[in-house]
């Protein structure tokens, strides 16, 4: 596919086209709007093709060591931040929920509220946002720098498919890491709720655990993992795509382009995580 084979020197053509586009926007707003829509659809199509190619190339010999390496980078090195955020999310959820429930004399339901909120929603979403901030930005920056320093071109000249070498392992590693980290988040979050609800606020421990155990069903956990997998695809694909095509940004070049690409990756991933959360939730419920 042409879009995935572009090299640094092709950027010059796009810059020329960007200048022409501005003049046309002023002259004919309807044409400009139409062109904008076409560009968005074009980019979405390119992203879809990019994702499809990257996914197919996961199943290639010699990928395993790279996938393991990325699982370590994306997954293992995110454990600390996930634990930290999970703990305090659980604690604040326990705290807020207690004061809401106690008005109705229903503080015994604290365990249910904390567990279901975390497992169904907060766990997958906050985990995805944390990994976006930590690993997603790093992926975009790393691939972007590889692009502007011609290292991706060097891979191409060595007949090494850059998408297979760089992107596929990261997508696979995300598919493995996101659900696992979500599970860790959920568990630590439930523990956090215990700390604030039971230890600090005096809710009965037995009641707390009984409520957690009885209210959580397998479907809740599965739905949470499905969300985690959807978020994994979104975050990894956007991060890799933004970095891979950082050199084709119209408004900047070089290191600045990598900076913009990183920012775009984080913002776009975060927004799409939240949007897709609603869509997936409405489909699953």
């Amino acid at each position: 596919m042409e879009i995935v084979m572009t090299s640094v020197t092709e950027k010059k053509e796009r810059t020329g086209k960007a200048q022409t586009t501005l003049l046309l926007k002023l002259a004919n707003p309807f044409a400009a709007f139409g062109r904008g829509v076409i560009n968005i659809i074009n980019d979405l199509g390119a992203a879809a093709v990019f994702l499809l190619l990257a996914f197919i190339k996961i199943f290639h010999p010699k990928q395993l060591p790279k996938i393991i390496q990325q699982v370590y980078f994306i997954g293992a090195r995110s454990v600390t931040i996930v634990i930290l955020v999970g703990l305090f999310t659980g604690m604040v959820l326990g705290l807020q929920s207690y004061y809401a429930l106690v008005k109705f004399g229903a503080e015994g339901a604290l365990g249910t509220l904390v567990a279901l909120s975390l497992i169904r929603e907060l766990g997958p979403v906050l985990t995805a946002l944390m990994i976006t901030a930590r690993a997603g930005s790093a992926i975009t920056a790393e691939i972007g720098i590889l692009r502007i320093s011609e290292q991706i071109d060097a891979l191409y000249t060595m007949q090494i498919d850059p998408v297979r070498f760089l992107v596929s392992p990261r997508i696979m590693a995300s598919l493995i890491s996101f659900p696992l980290l979500t599970a860790i988040f959920d568990l630590i979050g439930i523990l956090g709720g215990y700390l604030s609800g039971v230890v600090l606020l005096g809710v009965n421990a037995g009641t707390y655990y009984y409520r957690v155990q009885s209210s959580v069903e397998m479907k809740d956990i599965t739905d949470g993992f499905i969300k985690a997998i959807v978020f994994a695809v979104i975050v990894s694909m956007i991060s890799c795509f933004q970095g891979y095509f950082a050199h084709m940004r119209k408004e900047s070049h070089g290191a600045k382009a990598v900076g913009y690409a990183t920012t775009s990756a984080v913002v776009l991933s975060s927004v799409l995580v939240l949007v897709s959360d609603y869509i997936v939730t409405s489909l699953l419920l």
Binding site: K17, K62, Q151, T157, M158, Q159
Partner: protein, 422 residues
């Protein structure tokens, strides 16, 4: 005439409204070293990237062994690209990998070789490139020259048939520049690959190139040997060659070939008719053997040292010199006859015997170990010329008279230095 390996037929490339290549037609032949020269921004790297497939032409065709690249099927195209290696101007080393991993990467990813075999091949390249101490370092921890050697080792580790070099000596000092060029030349001769180089290093590239392609005003204006380029009259020469060449050769400080010839003809004009002059030709034997034993830097230091000795001795007698080839120097003595030239030569030999070995060892920063000993053989030939003979004819006659004049012994005992009587 042999069929070209790679051929461009009316290839044009534009970026927006900017035409970079305008109906380029050129031929590159197998197992030759071809250098593309031109001003900065003239499209040399763009031309190179068309060969490797990073860019596609807007017009025209690129042919490989007579067949257009656009007509090759997928497996033929894959075979074509598999034979090509590229050395980037900025090296493009993977900065998160060590030197070893960088060089091993093409073998690990593209071959089914066992780990032991990959290690053997990579270590062979590392040793050839004098990178043993740097094997576990990262590119950011290396000097620019070492990074170039890593990039060169990586480009050659797959034993490619065609190697593209994009400005391999950019940013290097004269010694390092010649080291890199001599390494490229040595590997090209040894492994027989087709080398295509983009370079500004004039006249150094003349020593290692079989053919020169000159890119000027988006077109190829010259294709031929470095010797044919000397007789080529075109604004390109004034604008590009003369501005890049400079007055003196960077490594030895001797005249560039052009300046040497200009001065040669000026001296002849000044001299009364029939008054003789002498041309001396010097050469150093077995430089390749020396570089294998003691490294390319040692060889470049020896060449520099020899150039300085020649200039010192013959310059004081009104002579001037030029590095004519990789291991050859030519000196003109405009005011001497053959007898006087012989006397100056004897003094030169005595001086180089007494001080040459010591000076070379001092100048060689890496202090190579000469424990096993090595003998450097210096040859020289003299010929008296007349005004009505061309310089090339006199130089060739001097070459025919060449004889051994000194042996410099490097090793435990320098007592073995020999002076050969004339």
């Amino acid at each position: 005439m042999t069929a070209p390996l790679i051929e461009f037929r009316n290839v044009s490339k534009r970026f927006g409204s900017l035409t970079v290549l305008d109906r380029i037609t050129l031929q590159i032949y197998e197992a030759e070293a071809t250098t593309i020269i031109g001003l900065s921004g003239s499209g040399k790297s763009v031309l190179l990237k068309h060969i490797i497939g990073l860019l596609k032409p807007d017009e025209g065709e690129i042919l490989y062994k007579g067949k257009a690249l656009s007509e090759l099927d997928k497996s033929e195209m894959s075979n074509y690209y598999a034979q090509i290696s590229y050395m980037f101007q900025g090296n493009a080393l993977f900065d998160s990998m060590t030197v070893y991993d960088n060089i091993a990467l093409p073998l690990v990813e593209k071959t089914r070789l066992k780990k032991k075999e990959i290690n053997r091949r990579v270590m062979a390249r590392i040793e050839q490139s004098e990178l043993i101490d740097a094997a576990e370092k990262y590119p950011s921890e290396l000097s620019g020259g070492m990074q170039k050697r890593v990039a060169l080792a990586r480009a050659l580790v797959t034993d490619p048939k065609i190697v593209l070099f994009d400005e391999p000596t950019t940013g290097q000092d004269p010694v390092r520049k010649n080291i890199i060029l001599s390494m490229i030349a040595e590997y090209q001769r040894k492994f027989g690959f087709t080398a295509i180089m983009v370079s500004h290093a004039i006249p150094d590239v003349y020593f290692i190139s079989n053919r020169i392609l000159a890119l000027y005003d988006h077109k190829i204006v010259f294709q031929g040997t470095p010797e044919e380029l000397e007789d080529f009259e075109h604004p390109f020469k004034e604008e590009v060659i003369h501005s890049l060449e400079g007055l003196k050769e960077e490594l030895t400080g001797l005249y560039s070939r052009r300046q040497f010839k200009i001065r040669y003809y000026n001296e002849l004009k000044r001299k009364p008719f029939q008054e003789p002059y002498v041309i001396a030709v010097f050469s150093i034997l077995d430089l390749e053997l020396l570089s294998e034993h003691f490294g390319h830097e040692t060889v470049q230091v020896m060449i520099r040292c020899m150039g300085r000795y020649i200039d010192d001795h013959f310059g004081s007698a009104g002579g001037f010199s030029n590095r004519y080839g990789t291991n050859e120097f030519v000196t003109m003595l405009p005011y001497s006859d053959l007898a006087e030239a012989e006397e100056i030569l004897n003094n030169f030999v005595e001086d180089i015997q007494n001080r040459g070995v010591r000076d070379i060892c001092e100048m060689t920063q890496e202090q190579p170990s000469f424990e096993d000993g090595f003998t450097l053989i210096v040859m020289a030939g003299l010929e008296q010329g007349q005004q009505d003979t061309t310089i090339d004819a006199v130089v060739n006659s001097a070459r025919n008279n060449i004889r051994e004049i000194a042996r410099l012994r490097f090793g435990k005992s320098e007592a073995g230095n020999e002076k050969i009587s004339s």
